[in-house]
């Protein structure tokens, strides 16, 4: 690992002694009944690179959006150089000296690079040196943004932010899609910025980067500030601890007979599966009667893996087998016909929200020509059985969108029970669901597995893994980097592996 960039000498070594450049106090934000930020504090000193860390859903993105003026905070104050500022729009945040590079570059896809820059009030001559600084000296300003690759857009967005010469540069997951050499450039830009007495707020999932380039790190958990640390010797474990909190006492589920599952026939197998840019050789086996957990930080290829498995996207390399036979679905319809079905995180994506419960459950049957004529009687029976089995609350059954989130998710699972399946793909199915329904869904998935179904279960909540999974895989950077028995999987190990820290995989 290269040496850390030295701190600028004129500012002293202890960053916490310096005057704060940005001071956010008690920032709160809720969306309806969901609390995104309870009370977040953040202090960034002048001349430091400050990391903002937290597990998925800890509130990092919400805090950044508030500081960028994209969304208003419900409560709290923001001070820049000691003076309170109002951040009612991105333009106002920029005037206050805060510039942000978002995960999705904020560039207009149908306009040329030059037009985009003009829109931000930048003449081409003014941006040239900054483009050179981020390694885009030869960029064609006449190119249409839509036709440029994502890494170029990230760097272009960075150059644009730099050209406004902000006091505080906020970089949200900027290295996520960047090749290593370009990430290096970004780090050197960050070091320059610090040397000039300005600051950088760096949001990342990669702890190794934090250890290398950041002076301090603020950790959020459940929408609160939990710690501000100096990542130093042995820092990673302290950071991981702060992100997790005291190791939560997970209620152990009833002991299950899990022996022999890996001897059962393989229902789904991936061999070095690749998909352009996202999957770099994913291999795993999913046995009948097994719930296989999958864990990853955002953007490590898990979305693409599920898209490929469910037939929404083709794969371009490797092999995929269902029950030992090659499987290359051309569409979700095709995948469903082969018995590979998906329960997505966004329930409304899968449901027909304006239609009644019964139609939603029976939708999987409508594909079969033989059923076009003999539908109703049989359909009613099947639907009734599933409603009973899943204990779906049918008081609001006239329109699926009126059901609670938990009941909607039961509908999505129930649809496949009505239609039948071989492999059930669950992508974060308990997101935003109350605890009681969660447990019902866990129970149901276990039951299905005991009956011989194969379930692939991606979750963003690590504590779910030992509750319902037999084995767990960890994805990082488009491949499976870690595998273990779920019963022995503690959160720290999984999180370390998910951050790409190799030593944890031993």
């Amino acid at each position: 690992m290269p040496p850390r960039h030295p701190a600028p000498p004129h500012l002293g070594t202890d960053v916490s002694q310096r005057p704060p450049l940005l001071e956010a106090r008690g920032i709160a934000k809720r969306y309806g009944s969901v609390v995104a930020l309870r009370s977040a504090d953040l202090t960034v000193a002048a001349g430091e690179v400050h990391a903002l860390l937290g597990a998925n859903g800890a509130g990092k993105s919400t805090l950044v959006k508030i500081l960028a003026g994209v969304i208003p905070a419900d409560a709290g104050t923001v001070r820049v150089d000691g003076a309170q500022v109002a951040l009612r729009s991105p333009a106002e945040a920029m005037r206050a000296g805060l510039a942000t590079v978002f995960q999705d570059p904020a560039l207009i896809p149908d306009l040329t690079v030059e037009h985009n820059l003009r829109l931000s009030g930048l003449e081409p001559e003014r941006i040239r040196p900054w483009l050179a600084r981020v390694g885009l000296a030869g960029l064609d300003l006449g190119a249409v943004v839509r036709e440029l690759p994502l890494p170029v857009l990230r760097l272009l967005d960075l150059a644009r932010a730099l050209a406004h010469e902000p006091r505080l540069l906020m970089l949200d997951e900027i290295t996520a899609a960047l090749p290593a050499d370009q990430a290096e450039r970004v780090f050197s830009v960050m070091a320059d910025w610090r040397a000039g007495g300005r600051s950088v707020l760096f949001i990342t999932h990669r702890l190794a980067e934090v250890l290398r380039v950041c002076d301090r790190a603020t950790v959020l958990r459940d929408g609160r500030h939990v710690a501000t640390l100096v990542p130093g010797e042995g820092g990673e474990s302290r950071l991981v601890e702060a992100m997790l909190g005291e190791v939560a006492a997970v209620t152990a589920g009833p002991a299950r007979a899990r022996e022999g599952r890996t001897e059962a026939p393989v229902a789904l197998e991936a061999r070095s599966l690749t998909s352009r840019g996202s999957l770099r050789g994913v291999s795993f086996r999913l046995h009948r009667g097994e719930v296989l957990g999958l864990v990853a930080l955002e953007g490590q290829g898990q979305d693409r893996l599920f898209e490929v498995l469910s037939g929404a996207r083709p794969y371009d390399g490797g092999e995929l087998l269902v029950d030992g036979r090659p499987f290359r679905p051309r569409s979700p319809f095709d995948a469903i016909r082969h018995g590979v079905v998906l329960v997505p995180a966004d329930r409304l994506q899968a449901l027909l929200p304006q239609r009644p419960v019964r139609e939603n459950l029976a939708a999987a049957l409508y594909n079969r020509v033989a059923r076009w004529f003999s539908l109703l009687r049989d359909e009613e029976d099947r639907v009734r059985r599933v409603v009973e089995r899943l204990a779906i609350d049918v008081r609001a059954q006239r329109q699926a969108r009126r059901l609670s989130g938990g009941n909607q998710q039961k509908l999505v699972v129930g649809r496949w029970l009505v239609g039948g399946f071989r492999v059930l793909l669950c992508f974060d199915p308990t997101r935003g669901i109350d605890i009681q329904t969660k447990e019902q869904i866990y129970g149901l998935l276990r039951e299905l597995a005991d009956e011989g179904a194969a379930v692939l279960y991606y979750t963003s909540e690590l504590q779910e893994i030992p509750l319902i999974c037999d084995r767990v895989l960890v994805m990082y950077g488009g491949t499976v980097v870690h595998e273990q028995e779920a019963a022995t999987a503690d959160e720290a190990t999984l999180l370390n592996a998910a951050h790409g820290l190799q030593e944890a995989a031993v």
Binding site: I108, P109, D110, L111, R118, L119, A143, V152
Partner: protein, 337 residues
């Protein structure tokens, strides 16, 4: 460095080729227009200044409406009321201009344009403030403006000055062989608008608001203002269409069918002219050419002694055909690139 290297190397591919590719649609529509004009010239026995003047002046309302619709669609909206705004402007101007001197009619014309601009700005403001979809609000205003025209002028009537007729038609009687005034009346406002849209920050913000409102907002642009502005400009051009009708016919006609036709033609012109209905893509110059293309079909069919009512069928087929050819070309370009 792979991706970056590619982009840099792409620069050597030739400025010219890229220009043609980017404005390919506009060039294509103008080419189609030229072809149709040549065809028309070959069809009729005496093609001369009189025929040119006839096309130039009679296509003015369609062309203005195409511009009006294009500006709004580029900014991510759609204005179903452009036709009835045209009819309203026609009726108001004909009513007020009857028996007036040239000077007075010019003042009235300016007033009508200004009024339509403000009225449509208000429509835009209602849309961005209430967040009711554009198509619903402007469907409502289609009826409101259409009804207002009937209230202003319950039956056809009114008039205008010979001078104003000259400005749009090239003749104080509305019939003649001087086509320059009609061309100038279209080209000048069009050139000003096109330059403003493509070269100023505010003009570009219309494209930005239509292309990706979220990214535009994150870049610090005022997307609401951009949309209100687009509707205001659309109103001005719809009023110009109304004034052109007054000048050509020397009367005001409140018939609702004119309004509905005008709106549908404007949407057709926008689609044919290469402006994406999803916003952010296309140019007003392409839309104008498409507007004239749609207009010229009728005289061509008449010259071929085909029932002009067939024109509507052909118009529809032409739109589908052009869209399919464009889709095919785009597909080939992607495969090649």
């Amino acid at each position: 460095m792979g991706a970056v290297g590619q982009v840099v190397a792409g620069r050597l591919g030739g400025e010219w080729r890229r220009l043609v590719r980017r404005h390919g649609w506009t060039v294509g529509v103008w080419g189609l227009l030229v072809l149709l004009l040549l065809w028309y010239a070959a069809l009729i026995p005496r093609f001369g200044p009189f025929a040119i003047a006839s096309i130039a002046k009679n296509s003015l309302p369609t062309a203005y409406l195409a511009v009006s619709q294009a500006v709004v669609v580029i900014a991510g909206g759609i204005d179903l009321a452009v036709g009835s705004m045209m009819v309203l402007a026609n009726c108001v101007s004909a009513l007020l201009m009857e028996g007036q001197s040239f000077g007075t009619t010019v003042l009235i014309a300016v007033g009508v344009v200004a009024g339509a601009t403000l009225l449509n700005a208000l429509v835009g403001w209602v849309i961005v403030t209430s967040r009711i979809p554009d198509i619903i609000v402007t469907l409502a205003t289609l009826f409101v403006f259409g009804g207002a025209a009937l209230m202003v002028l319950p039956s056809p009537g009114g008039g205008t000055s010979g001078g104003l007729r000259f400005v749009f038609t090239g003749s104080t009687s509305g019939v003649g062989s001087n086509y320059w005034p009609s061309l100038v009346a279209l080209a000048v406002p069009l050139a000003v608008l096109a330059a403003w849209l493509g070269r100023t920050r505010t003009g570009l913000s219309l494209y930005a608001a239509g292309s990706d409102p979220n990214a535009a907002y994150l870049s610090g642009l005022n997307t609401r203002r951009a949309k209100v502005l687009a509707y205001a400009i659309g109103g001005a051009f719809a009023a110009l269409a109304g004034l052109a009708v007054t000048a050509i016919t020397a009367t005001g006609d409140p018939k609702f069918a004119n309004a509905a036709n005008g709106t549908l033609n404007s949407v057709a012109a926008v689609v044919l002219g290469g402006v994406a209905l999803t916003g952010g893509v296309g140019s007003v110059i392409g839309a104008v050419a498409a507007g004239v293309v749609l207009f010229i079909l009728k005289p061509i069919l008449t010259a071929m002694a085909i029932d002009p009512n067939t024109a509507q069928v052909i118009q529809g087929l032409l739109i589908i055909g052009v869209m399919m050819v464009a889709g095919l070309l785009e597909l080939r370009r992607r495969r090649a690139g």
